[in-house]
């Protein structure tokens, strides 16, 4: 061991002795299994987190969609023009009521009220 190879060549005897000295005593397969188990754990946790996020996401998206529908339908109703409403109703009475320039006089309203009583 005192007369070893040059510094550019490997000292096989020393290398073998070092490997023996440093070789792990435990089972290699058990070590690999432990690494893979640790690899699996955070991955499973990540999927759980994503799954919980997705459940929350579905609920939140449904709520947002509902609000959007309500808002749009409300705004849609306000945006309907008189002409469109008339076209939709398409009745003479409605047309007359909506386009009548002269609103009924108070005497007419009183007469109707008295009739009801």
């Amino acid at each position: 061991m005192t007369h070893g190879p040059s510094d550019f060549e490997r000292d096989e005897r020393l290398g073998r002795a070092l490997r023996q000295a440093l070789d792990p005593a435990g089972d290699a397969e058990a070590f690999t299994a432990r690494v893979l188990a640790r690899f699996e754990r955070p991955r499973a946790r990540a999927w759980d987190t994503l799954a919980s996020w997705s459940r929350l996401g579905v609920v939140a998206a449904a709520a947002v969609a509902l609000v959007v529908i309500v808002v749009l339908s409300f705004r849609g109703g306000a945006d309907v023009s008189i002409e469109a409403a008339l076209a939709a109703s398409n009745t003479d009475e409605a047309t007359q009521l909506m386009t009548e320039d002269n609103s009924p006089g108070t005497d007419v309203l009183f007469a109707i009220a008295n009739e009801d009583n």
């Binding site: 061991m1 510094d7 000292d11 020393l14 893979l36 690899f39």
Partner: protein, 183 residues
């Protein structure tokens, strides 16, 4: 080393193939554990560091350049992980019995002798400066070139040669001394 194989396994791992990662771990487990053991005398600490290193390597796998050999890249991670652990760990002082001293299959005196030699070598290694320890083990035991070790340790190649030279001289002295006492 298995350069092209390793690159393929890395690619498969990045694509989500867990078996490919398992094959990489199996291929490099012994080496990673030995390298960690150079820096951490307690074998349990060394194994923990080697495990951490594999997971760190996995987390950074996208940064590995497949045109370069995988071994030095991994060994650098193992080295950093073990050094980091050695600096912040709570020391587990109890050194377990060397299993080779107690398991069968070999004549008890021969096994004891080998166990004794291993123990003396570990003691001698622990007396060397950290970089010399790594340099001599990576060169003589793990088969890396001076250039690869220089890259792993981030030092000039001349420094690696010098470290290997000095470490060998001390280890050989120790081994000669031990041999004389045994004979």
């Amino acid at each position: 080393m298995h350069n092209s194989d390793d690159a393929a396994l890395v690619e498969r791992t990045l694509a989500g193939d867990q078996n490919a990662f398992g094959m990489l771990v199996r291929r490099y487990a012994a080496q990673a554990r030995r390298v960690a053991r150079i820096l951490l005398r307690n074998p349990d600490d060394a194994d923990d560091a080697a495990q951490d290193a594999f997971l760190a390597a996995l987390a950074n796998l996208a940064r590995y350049d497949p045109r370069r050999p995988f071994g030095p890249w991994l060994v650098r991670i193992v080295t950093n992980t073990a050094i980091d652990r050695s600096r912040r760990r709570t020391v587990r002082r109890a050194e377990p019995l060397d299993e080779r001293l107690i398991d069968g299959g070999e004549a008890p005196d021969r096994a004891a002798e080998r166990g004794e030699l291993a123990m003396r070598l570990r003691d001698a290694l622990s007396e060397l400066p950290e970089r010399q320890r790594l340099a001599v083990t990576l060169f003589d035991a793990e088969g890396y070139s001076h250039a690869e070790i220089a890259e792993i340790l981030r030092v000039p190649i001349g420094t690696v040669r010098s470290d290997v030279h000095h470490a060998r001289r001390k280890l050989r002295d120790m081994l000669t001394e031990w041999k004389e006492t045994v004979e």
